[in-house]
């Protein structure tokens, strides 16, 4: 059986500098898989490669047996990978519900003509999507804000809105880039609980996050990057006691107890 997600010698260079260098790893289905590493380690670049925003300089990416290299982001979205962004890419010109409805885009078939003529099938499809979007807003605790303008939301809720929107695409794999950045302690806890619940519903999560307490608490496995290269991989316990990791990243101080 094909692996859920694997990369093979994945490399991305910018003007001769490698942001990701010969990276090979595999991620299992149904897990929370975290990618950690200091700032500039190449975590966001890895996400951009996996989601088709960047094209690898060399190497392969396979998702459930399918080659992802060369596919555009919308095609990758249709295959079942979605993501949230380090700086939220909210549609600030739209309401909370509308943001989520865009996430439902790929489940619809209504085109320009059917939409402009307000055909019954366009109307019933819109109704179905609305229900789907509301479910995902409810999952993220945002259903009571559905009709709010998204630009009126506080930061913590924007982060959850991005999650609800990504969930509306019904991804098999969700890439989350620093979901807890900028959140206070209680919001961070909520986000962690949300990610764990998400994983229980069958969505595999790849997580980039600097809050080590959160990462260690909810991850099944971790991949450590350093200067774009593979440094280590293992369970939270293994990583926390790995001398290479401690030296390169976690530092000698033991603030990472999760």
């Amino acid at each position: 059986m094909a692996l859920f997600l694997e990369t093979n010698n994945l490399t991305k260079t910018f003007g001769g500098v490698a942001a990701i260098f010969k990276l090979s790893f595999a991620m299992g289905q149904g897990t929370v898989f975290s990618v950690i590493g200091p700032n500039g380690a190449g975590k966001t670049t890895l996400f951009n490669l996996l989601s088709g925003i960047y094209r690898p300089s060399s190497g392969q990416i396979h998702f459930r047996g399918q080659d992802l290299v060369g596919l555009s982001p919308h095609e990758i979205s249709h295959i079942g990978i979605s993501r949230t962004f380090q700086t939220p890419q909210i549609f600030f010109n739209m309401s909370v519900l509308e943001n989520c409805l865009v996430g439902c885009h790929r489940h619809g078939v209504t085109g320009f003509v059917a939409a402009a003529l307000h055909l019954p099938r366009a109307v019933s499809e819109a109704k179905r999507m609305r229900e789907m979007a509301m479910e995902n807003l409810a999952f993220c605790g945002l259903d009571h804000l559905a009709d709010r303008d998204s630009d009126a939301l506080p930061y913590g809720e924007l982060k959850r809105l991005e999650l609800a929107r990504a969930l509306s695409t019904q991804p098999r794999l969700l890439l989350m880039d620093e979901p807890a950045a900028g959140l206070n302690d209680s919001e961070t806890k909520e986000m962690g609980a949300l990610i764990s619940r998400l994983c229980e519903t069958g969505v595999s999560v790849m997580l980039v996050e600097h809050n080590m307490a959160l990462v260690m608490a909810i991850s099944h496995r971790l991949l450590v990057l350093n200067h774009g290269e593979y440094l280590a991989e293992g369970s939270p316990e293994q990583i926390q006691s790995n001398p290479k990791v401690i030296e390169a990243y976690l530092g000698s101080g033991d603030e990472s107890d999760g």
Binding site: F85, Q89, N93, M94, E98, V102, G103, H105, A115
Partner: protein, 323 residues
């Protein structure tokens, strides 16, 4: 439905105007021009206001519609409705061809490219003098016949022009309130976000460009028949800019705003003629004033003020769009 309440008000205005002011020049003559301009502005607003892609060349599509109808009916003796369809088809093809390369560009580059396109099309209307009549224009374009009725009076043209304009508004409203409209607005909000939600942004930009071109070409065909005479001046860079001003003046991303903007920009010069040579000056000053004090456009700003007064508990500050 609440969503279409505004539409019913617009229909009522359009129907009542010639009844309340029968034979009034501003209704049955200027009104027709407003309807054509509004139709184009509503289409352009789908591209600019909702999707966030500027075009400084839409007069070209207005011209393609007008010249297709004008040339095919006068030189080839085609049926006017067939010629109108041919005009739409021509606009479609041209839009499809230029949209692919052009819409990859952003901001100033997109503006420059569409500007260049508009100028090229305008030159193509001037140059083949033996066909198009060159700068002197094309005369003796027959009027339209609808179900055996010749559209040969001001009031009949008012009916046709406003009817088509209302149809355009209805289509645009439907489109915006649909899956497609959501995707268009998402492209405006964040291209990378929209892509990640499964929106093929290149394709949808091309599509909406084509739709806006079709709105303009339809207006152009009708305009040619209504005027009976067309010349390249009507389809110049100058008119492209006016169209953009209509969209911006009314307020981006508002279909009614585009209609309102078209009405204001068509009426203003008509009412300012009493100031003779100061007309353009005053028009410019008004526009600068609006942009400085009501940057979201007249319609959107005013309707927000009204909403704020009605529901003063819900504040709507609206710094628009991220880049």
């Amino acid at each position: 439905m609440r969503r279409y309440g505004g539409f019913l008000v617009l229909v009522a205005l359009v129907v009542l105007a010639p009844i309340v002011f029968p034979g009034n020049y501003f209704v049955t003559v200027v009104g027709v021009t407003i309807a054509f301009n509004a139709l184009i502005a509503v289409g352009l607003n789908l591209l600019m206001g909702y999707t966030g892609q500027i075009s400084l060349g839409h007069a070209a599509f207005f011209g393609i519609g007008a010249y297709s109808s004008g040339l095919l009916t006068t030189l080839m003796g085609w049926n006017a409705w067939l010629a109108l369809l041919a005009g739409l088809l021509a606009a479609w093809l041209v839009a499809e061809m230029i949209a692919r390369p052009i819409l990859r560009l952003k901001g100033h580059y997109l503006a420059m490219a569409t500007l260049g396109f508009g100028i090229i099309i305008n030159i193509l209307m001037v140059q083949p003098t033996h066909i198009t009549g060159g700068p002197d224009g094309l005369a003796d374009i027959p009027t339209l016949t609808l179900f055996g009725w010749a559209i040969d009076s001001d009031i009949r043209w008012y009916g046709v022009a406003t009817g088509v304009m209302l149809l355009g508004v209805w289509l645009a409203l439907n489109l915006i309130n649909s899956r497609i409209g959501l995707a268009l607005r998402a492209v405006h909000g964040s291209e990378v976000g929209a892509q990640m939600m499964g929106v093929d942004i290149e394709r949808i930009k091309v599509r909406v460009f084509v739709v806006s071109a079709l709105f303009a070409a339809l207006a152009g065909s009708l305009f040619a028949h209504q005027q009976g005479f067309i010349s390249p001046d009507s389809f110049s860079f100058h008119f492209s800019i006016e169209l953009v001003v209509m969209v911006v003046l009314g307020g981006m991303a508002s279909t009614y705003g585009a209609v309102f903007g078209a009405a204001v920009l068509t009426l203003l010069p008509e009412t300012l003629v009493v100031f003779e040579e100061y007309e353009v000056l005053i028009l410019g000053a008004i526009m600068m004033g609006i942009m400085i004090f009501l940057p979201q456009g007249l319609w959107v700003s005013l309707s927000q003020k009204v909403k704020q007064i009605i529901a003063s508990n819900r504040s709507t500050t609206n710094p628009s769009a991220i880049s």
